[in-house]
């Protein structure tokens, strides 16, 4: 393979100085760590913002936050969590670290581009953080940034704040494009001998399809951001009709606010799956490894990822049922949205069927994986309410929506992130994370988030609208406000508990128990590296050769309870056929 040869040549230039090794690094593993640490750092900012918001909602008389700051915190919390934490962490962090190792490559195909991707990402984060310091502060338009509101005077940060936000998004999209091109090309071109597409671990499949989706979806957000910048600064009217804002008629006419919503959600809905598909992939591997059992229905799982990825481009307007678009669209988008539930349900069944008749080790990564399934099932099922247009009409823009998306694309993916970090930490550092701290953090986070978001659905059923700074309405009983206070207290506890995780990560990186190269007894290639952490070029003198799929656990007749992918097949009858040679083979009982 050409790419393998060129990567071999690359190895002769192993960087030596601190700067080239850890700062201007082109090694996918270092870039992955840079991406991850930056994402976690900016995620902590978003976590603090959510705490401040919750204090206002739970203790409205505290006067800690005023209405302007509330809306600014709300906006930044949402945007950071979705884009700058989850997207960056799954693609830039996990994707960067795991793709080359899992497909048996020495590095990404375009290492220099990979480095640029991180530095553009860092700049986008810095620009975003800078918006806290511009006149009037960051934008308070909500993470959906709907115009005209985002660029008119009644919204905090409608001058500088929104421009820094849009600029930061544009830079982020440049970074994500460079990264995603790399991930897609590496998966397609740099797989080692024997690593067919249908032998790839589901982690790679999830990140691979999510990267393709990022390449197709982010451009819609990019043009929307550029068009809004032009509306705000150059007097164009893409999204701006003739309006009177703050008592003055603005020099715009003829634009369409709905156009922005279509562009935003054409990006925004695939974005949900850009976060979810890597989580699906990672969690499949966590469950299979720690249940010591092959993933159930691998082919179905791969096709489900591909189909979900494809369908997710045809459901965007379910976010717009009550936006004022033609009501007839509701029929189409309700159908496409509920159809996507079928492959998603298949994935859930296959996870729990993987547990069935397994040898379930309740390790910390497994706890997070099971926590993910519970949370994701709740979040996925409430999606059936909101996707079904007639049920969405009363629930739209209420706390039901807040509860739904936090469960399905906030908490669920974050639980996978925690599980994934616990699982791959030994490969990255050569040390285990502390088990007791890990369990404590899991229980507080999993139960805490459930107690926060489960009752919140019912506030939505009651009719409490979201994005309210204060609730002074007759139909909202005092008990609902008391519930808000309770939720705030739990949220603050959960937020504080994240210190346990950070402490565990930092402490274990230096003092953790040495792990050896394959502490979980896992089959996939990243656990078979000659060194742990893997050296520059990953594989030493020769890249590995792959002979089987990634899920040979407890194979009948095998001596150990796992068979690495590098292990040759012993005879033609062995291996239960999950290679490309017999893709449709049946006959397992």
């Amino acid at each position: 393979m050409v790419t393998v040869a060129s990567a071999d040549a690359h190895e002769h230039h192993e960087p030596q100085s601190f700067i080239t090794k850890y700062v201007w690094s082109q090694d996918h593993k270092v870039i992955a760590i840079q991406y991850s640490l930056t994402a976690i750092a900016v995620g902590l900012v978003a976590l603090v913002l959510s705490g401040l918001m919750r204090i206002q909602l739970g203790f409205p008389d505290s006067g800690l936050v005023d209405a302007s700051s509330y809306y600014q915190f709300m906006t930044l919390h949402g945007m950071i969590m979705v884009i700058y934490l989850l997207t960056a962490l799954f693609l830039g962090g996990f994707g960067n670290y795991l793709i080359p190792l899992m497909v048996g490559a020495r590095d990404m195909v375009f290492p220099y581009l990979n480095m640029l991707s991180y530095w553009f990402y860092l700049v986008s984060v810095l620009v975003l953080m800078a918006s806290f310091f511009v006149p009037d502060g960051p934008t308070g338009a909500g993470w959906t940034l709907y115009p005209p509101q985002a660029i008119t005077g009644g919204t905090p940060g409608a001058d500088w704040g929104i421009l820094t936000m849009l600029l930061s998004l544009a830079i982020f999209i440049v970074a994500a494009t460079m990264g995603s091109l790399n991930y897609v090309t590496t998966v397609l071109q740099a797989r080692t001998k024997g690593m067919t597409l249908m032998r790839m671990p589901l982690t790679v499949w999830g990140i691979f399809v999510a990267s393709i989706m990022a390449l197709l979806a982010f451009p819609a957000l990019f043009v929307a951001a550029v068009m809004m910048m032009l509306d705000a600064t150059m007097g164009t009217s893409f999204f701006m009709p003739a309006i009177i804002a703050m008592g003055q008629q603005l020099p715009h006419e003829g634009g369409s606010p709905l156009l922005f919503q279509h562009l935003f959600w054409f990006f925004g809905h695939p974005e949900v799956y850009i976060v979810a598909l890597p989580a699906f992939g990672l969690v499949s591997d966590l469950i299979s490894t720690h249940a010591r059992k092959n993933i159930f229905g691998y082919h179905m799982m791969v096709w489900a990822i591909v189909i979900i990825g494809g369908l997710s481009f045809f459901v965007w307007a379910h976010h717009m049922y009550v936006s004022g678009m033609n009501l007839s669209f509701g029929f189409f988008f309700a159908i496409s949205t509920l159809v996507i539930a079928v492959p998603t349900a298949i994935k859930v069944y296959n996870w729990i069927l993987t547990l069935w008749k397994g040898d379930i080790h309740l390790t910390v990564p497994m706890l997070y994986a099971i926590g993910f399934v519970v949370t994701f099932v709740v979040g996925g099922l409430t999606g059936l309410f909101l996707g079904n247009v007639i049920v969405d009409i009363p629930l739209a823009d209420t706390y039901f929506v807040v509860a739904h998306f936090h469960m399905v694309m906030g908490v669920a993916p974050i639980l996978v992130v925690f599980g994934g970090i616990h699982h791959w930490f030994p490969k990255v550092t050569g040390r285990m994370m502390n088990d007791t701290l890990g369990r404590l953090h899991f229980w507080i986070t999993f139960l805490g988030t459930y107690v926060i978001f489960f009752p919140m659905h019912y506030l939505g059923v009651l009719g409490m609208p979201r994005r309210y700074f204060d609730y002074d309405y007759e139909f909202i009983p005092q008990s609902a406000l008391d519930l808000n206070t309770f939720i705030t207290i739990v949220a603050l506890v959960v937020a504080a508990a994240q210190i346990l995780f950070l402490y565990n990560m930092i402490w274990s990186a230096f003092r953790g128990r040495p792990s050896g190269g394959n502490p979980w007894g896992a089959t996939s290639l990243e656990w078979q590296t000659p060194q742990t952490p893997p050296g520059h070029g990953n594989w030493g003198p020769a890249v590995p050769e792959v002979h089987r799929w990634a899920y040979d656990y407890n194979v009948p007749g095998a001596s150990a309870d796992f068979v690495p992918q590098t292990e040759p097949q012993r005879g033609p009858s062995q291996g239960h056929g999950h290679g490309p040679e017999q893709p449709g083979e049946k006959g397992h009982s």
């Binding site: 005023d66 209405a67 302007s68 338009a141 909500g142 005209p148 008119t152 009644g154 919204t155 009709p241 003739a242 309006i243 009177i244 804002a245 008592g247 003055q248 008629q249 003829g254 709905l258 010591r292 229905g297 082919h299 179905m300 009550v322 936006s323 004022g324 009501l327 509701g330 509920l338 349900a345 298949i346 729990i352 547990l355 069935w356 397994g358 379930i360 309740l362 706890l367 099971i370 059936l384 309410f385 079904n388 247009v389 007639i390 049920v391 009409i393 009363p394 209420t398 009752p455 019912y458 059923v461 009651l462 609208p465 609730y471 139909f475 009983p477 519930l483 656990y553 309870d561 397992h588």
Partner: protein
């Protein structure tokens, strides 16, 4: 084992919470029982799936958790089981979707006999308009908007002459058991009109007209609120909906002034030039976005009866709102902040004579109860 027990508690707790929760639907006030019915069907079907999936995991954890010597079964897939699950899921989805779409069809079809009422959103208030005897809402344009014509009706359109405008701050009145089509506009940003008891809601989008329909089914007053983030005052944007018996509604409607009568009254208004200029300034400079002239609470204090009144400041001291105080509040708004209002106002840099005009206008805003002989007619009408 701990995990299995806690997951079981989560299942039991969630179901119990659902059955016992005090936080549930408000009493229905419209024809959309179908939305409630579909909500309950959705809870039932998804609840069964949630319980089944979670308890299946509990069972798996109990039976197949690691013990020394345990071996997992090697079973890559089972086409038959997968097809069964695929089929069952599809049935569940169809059971949700089919009735949902049938009911949604009703929502997309406005009845022919629906009464049209217009709702106009602006930051952060709702205004309303009835079509009057012609049955037609007159043309509107943003260019016609002034403080005397806040909804921008075209004075030249005959259909607008008999329209009845309820300016921002007023209530929406509706007759019970009469299908209503709300046609909606927004003056500035996107808003949404949502009465929780009516269930249905719809965004109001500047630059276009949106609509939805419902039939109020019980009399009483309801809170309408904005459900689409519309800026810093979003959470305060609300109105009262008064659903009345048909006769009471007709009586109320008959008492309202038509747009034509309103224009005629304006023509007769005997007003000082300085006051007029102040009114124009207040409109064109954006003061009225945050200060009302009719006593209603907005982002900033109302101007009605402000002049000469005692104002409580943030530090609990008081000051009389005289000319000096008002001028300072415009040029340096944070110097003497009224208690209970956010420090949201930017400092304005007006010329002296402009300030005089604004003060004169504010001074003129006294309603009848204050017995000010200068009070202009328009305010009494509101």
């Amino acid at each position: 084992m701990v995990l299995a027990i806690i997951l079981t508690i989560i299942v039991i707790g969630s179901v119990a919470f659902h059955l016992l929760t005090p936080w549930t639907l408000t009493e229905l006030g419209s024809n959309w029982q179908s939305m409630d019915a579909m909500l309950h069907i959705s809870f039932a079907i998804t609840g069964v799936v949630f319980v089944a999936v979670t308890l299946f995991m509990v069972l798996a954890i109990v039976r197949y958790r690691h013990r020394p010597g345990r071996k997992a079964q090697y079973s890559p897939d089972s086409r038959r089981l997968e097809l069964w699950l695929l089929g069952l899921t599809t049935v569940g989805i169809v059971a949700l979707l089919a009735p949902g779409l049938v009911y949604y069809y009703d929502f997309t079809r406005t009845p022919d006999d629906a009464m049209r009422v217009e709702v106009v959103g602006e930051q952060w208030r709702f205004a309303f308009r009835y079509p009057g005897e012609s049955g037609q809402l007159g043309r509107t344009s943003i260019e016609h908007v002034t403080s005397d014509n806040p909804l921008g009706l075209d004075p030249g359109d005959p259909a607008s002459q008999d329209d009845i405008v309820i300016p921002a701050g007023g209530d929406l009145h509706l007759p019970v058991d009469q299908p209503v089509e709300l046609v909606m506009r927004a003056r500035d940003v996107i808003h949404s009109f949502f009465v929780p008891e009516f269930r249905a809601k719809m965004d109001m989008v500047p630059g276009m007209v949106t609509s939805f329909w419902f039939t109020p089914t019980r009399t009483g007053t309801f809170e309408a609120l904005c459900a689409q983030h519309c800026g810093v005052g979003h959470y305060n944007m609300s109105a009262t909906v008064n659903v009345m018996e048909r006769e009471a509604f007709e009586d109320w409607l008959g008492e309202q002034q038509t747009f034509g009568e309103h224009l005629a009254a304006l023509g007769d208004r005997d007003e000082d030039d300085e006051v007029s200029w102040g009114r124009e300034l207040a409109t064109s400079e954006g003061c009225m976005a945050c200060h009302s002239d009719d006593g209603s609470r907005d982002v900033g204090p109302t101007w009605l009866n402000l002049y000469g009144r005692e104002v409580t400041l943030e530090d609990d001291s008081t000051v009389v709102a005289d000319e000096e105080y008002i001028r300072r509040s415009i040029t340096d708004p944070r110097a003497q902040l009224t208690k209970g209002y956010p420090p949201a106002m930017p400092a304005y840099d007006f010329d002296d004579d402009e300030l005089d005009a604004l003060v004169a206008y504010i001074r003129s805003l006294q309603d009848d109860e204050n017995n000010n002989p200068d009070a202009p007619d328009t305010n009494a009408e509101r």
